[in-house]
């Protein structure tokens, strides 16, 4: 029998995530009200429990698959995790996520116009757009969205700090 070298890979991660989600569901659902089995009335836990069991099967399969077919997948080690921060392009993706988090936190405070403009400026500069173009595109997109959502579809977009200056 050929001995396959074991290494931790993406299939194991998928399997573990499936199992973790199942455990979370199965630990929460016992607190849900019970159904009445004699009349076929299932409780709120019935469907999530059923899905958690399906996820357990999927998780176990993934763990087995990742082990049995380990050679098909790249090993994940500590250096893989370190490499996630090395590449400039990947770091930019993290910055974009941070910008969106900032947008969420500041949207109601600074308002639509200021937050969107700032967000676009940071986004475009990070992606290497020349400065004068950045300001042009940031103004253009902010105005376009304000026209479409705020003016055409009369969706209330927060004014934020601009409210204090009468805008």
């Amino acid at each position: 029998m050929i001995k396959r070298p074991f290494h931790f890979n993406q299939e194991h991660i998928i399997g573990l995530v499936c199992l973790a989600i199942s455990v979370i569901i199965l630990s929460i659902t016992p607190s849900f009200p019970k159904g009445k089995a004699n009349i076929g009335l299932t409780g709120p836990a019935f469907f999530p429990d059923l899905l958690a069991f399906v996820f357990i099967v999927c998780g176990v399969y993934q763990l087995w698959h990742g082990t049995a077919y380990a050679s098909l997948y790249r090993p994940i080690t500590l250096s893989t995790a370190r490499n996630l921060f090395k590449k400039k392009e990947t770091r930019t993706a993290y910055f974009i996520i941070l910008f969106i988090v900032g947008f969420i936190l500041l949207f109601d405070i600074l308002g639509f116009l200021v937050t969107s403009f700032l967000f676009l400026v940071l986004f475009l500069l990070r992606l290497g757009v020349p400065r004068w173009q950045t300001f042009f595109y940031a103004t253009f997109f902010t105005a376009l969205i304000y026209f479409l959502f705020g003016w055409l579809f009369t969706i209330s977009l927060p004014s934020g700090i601009l409210e204090y200056v009468g805008l």
Partner: protein, 493 residues
């Protein structure tokens, strides 16, 4: 005639045509899919009458699928996954300078395929709807599960990963108030979660933001600012009529294949295009020419991918089961308008259904005109730097999600599911089954639980009724197909 006049009104025409133009722009941008084009347009439809919103969604999907063929032909880069098969012979035709003929053939076939697909939809849907009226909770449970499972099996990658994606979507659909007891499940006291997870921010995140993150993380910064500048592009229609006359049978064959595959829940325009291409090669007298710039190799996939769009609407309208991720979004939009897709929609909202059919047919004529202009504008499109387009998509996605309930909570959902979608694609877990699971989850749960109440907890009627038994049998076949095929292949070896 009334239906035609009712949709040819200025307040419908303008947003409809603008949406179709957006479809060309998004579809022609490599990496941006037709689903993303629809996802971008949905927030704009919240505040419009149903027919305006549905015309915009229909229009954008038809033009985006065609527009994906433009860079496929001239740059060897499919604009959308549905254009993958069109690259093979379209680009080969372009090499010796026959690109204008290839794209003209492509546009004409797309229009024709789309029209045939819509005509099949118009003919078959009412008949199927009459049949579907016999369905009860038991049949609907299996049908929804069948649709969902097919999406898990058919999508690229392993079946197990499709199943994981589907179950993930189903689990997400259980968040919120329980359908029968009103108990808040997994809400943790959050009022937004009590209302359930809305599919729109999830979809925008999964298809929009994840694509932005993927594009940024795989493209070098120097290339992000690049524009694919090429010489002026045009379409040459001079010999199109003659070629199409020679390939009438192939056009019909590809249209029917496209529509049928589109009608299978989970299989969309991309699969239709590949199957039609394979079938055309099999039935061709000169199969050796495929892949070297054969006209048949352009006709088959481009006819089928647009025909599939009509097909995807068949299960969506008749059974309320989406045929692909685009119709999944459509179903969500219809529910938002208070319409419940299913056989009863043909009785309760007959006028609207007629208007949808009319819009679908007229969209084909618009496609021909806008497609032609789109080809002309292609050179201009590609002068737009990719990083600017990505910024536009991101801010549009964010504000689109916010517009749903004027809540930053939904923007948070967009981010969370954008990251999740990015990670899922990294580990080759398909995204469409996830969104279908989220949309079909309540339908599956409701029919299963009501069915159980009806039978006092007895599962047997789910298997004993003829149509239910047939669907259950199909479901088993679907999941057994791949392992059995592998087993047979191993034994043969």
């Amino acid at each position: 005639m009334d239906a035609v006049l009712s949709v040819l009104r200025i307040e419908i025409l303008i947003p409809w045509l603008l949406a179709m133009i957006l479809g060309i722009f998004v579809g022609a941008m490599p990496g941006l899919t037709a689903t993303m084009a629809v996802a971008l347009i949905v927030p704009l439809t919240f505040h419009t009458p149903p027919i305006v919103g549905l015309a915009m969604i229909l229009g954008v999907s038809f033009t985006a699928i065609f527009a994906g063929d433009i860079p496929a032909t001239f740059l060897r880069v499919p604009g959308t996954p549905a254009s993958g098969a069109a690259v093979l012979d379209g680009y080969e035709m372009n090499k010796p300078g026959k690109g204008p003929l290839a794209i003209a053939l492509d546009l004409t076939c797309s229009t024709l395929g789309g029209t045939i697909g819509v005509l099949i939809l118009i003919t078959i849907s009412p008949i199927l709807a009459t049949f579907a009226l016999r369905f009860t909770h038991f049949e609907y449970f299996w049908l929804a599960l069948l649709g969902l499972s097919m999406s898990a099996v058919i999508t690229k990658g392993s079946t197990m990963k499709g199943l994981i994606s589907m179950t993930g979507g189903l689990i997400l659909s259980t968040i919120g108030l329980d359908i029968s007891t009103g108990y808040p499940r997994f809400a943790f006291g959050n009022t937004y979660l009590m209302g359930g997870i809305n599919f729109i921010p999830v979809m925008i995140g999964l298809f929009g933001i994840s694509e932005v993150l993927r594009s940024i993380s795989v493209t070098s910064h120097d290339q992000l600012g690049d524009a694919a500048i090429i010489s002026n592009v045009k379409a040459d229609f001079r010999s199109v009529g003659k070629i199409m006359g020679k390939n009438k049978r192939l056009i019909l064959q590809s249209s029917v294949i496209g529509t049928l595959i589109g009608a299978l829940p989970g299989a969309g325009a991309d699969i239709a295009a590949w199957v039609a291409y394979g079938m055309a090669k099999k039935t061709s007298k000169t199969p050796e020419k495929f892949g070297t710039g054969a006209e048949e190799g352009v006709i088959a996939p481009t006819t089928a991918n647009n025909a599939a769009l009509g097909g995807t609407w068949i299960p969506a309208l008749v059974f309320g089961i989406p045929g692909d991720s685009i119709t999944a979004i459509v179903l969500g939009a219809m529910m938002m308008y208070g319409l419940k897709p299913g056989p009863l929609v043909f009785q309760g909202s007959r006028d609207l259904v007629n208007q949808i059919f009319t819009v679908a047919v007229i969209s084909q004529f618009f496609l021909l005109i806008l497609g032609y202009l789109g080809i002309r504008a292609f050179t201009w499109f590609f002068k737009f730097p990719r990083n600017v387009v990505l910024a536009g998509i991101t801010i549009f996605s964010i504000i689109g999600a916010y517009a749903l309930r004027s809540s930053v909570f939904d923007v948070g959902l967009v981010l969370v599911f954008g990251i999740l979608g990015y990670l899922m694609e990294r580990v080759t877990i398909p995204l469409p089954p996830f969104i279908l699971g989220l949309i079909l989850g309540p339908m599956i749960e409701e029919n299963l639980r009501i069915g159980l109440v009806k039978t006092s907890g007895n599962f047997w009627p789910f298997f004993s009724r003829p149509i239910s038994a047939f669907f259950a049998f199909l479901l088993i076949l679907i999941f057994l197909y791949e392992p059995v095929k592998l087993l047979i292949q191993r034994k043969r070896r």
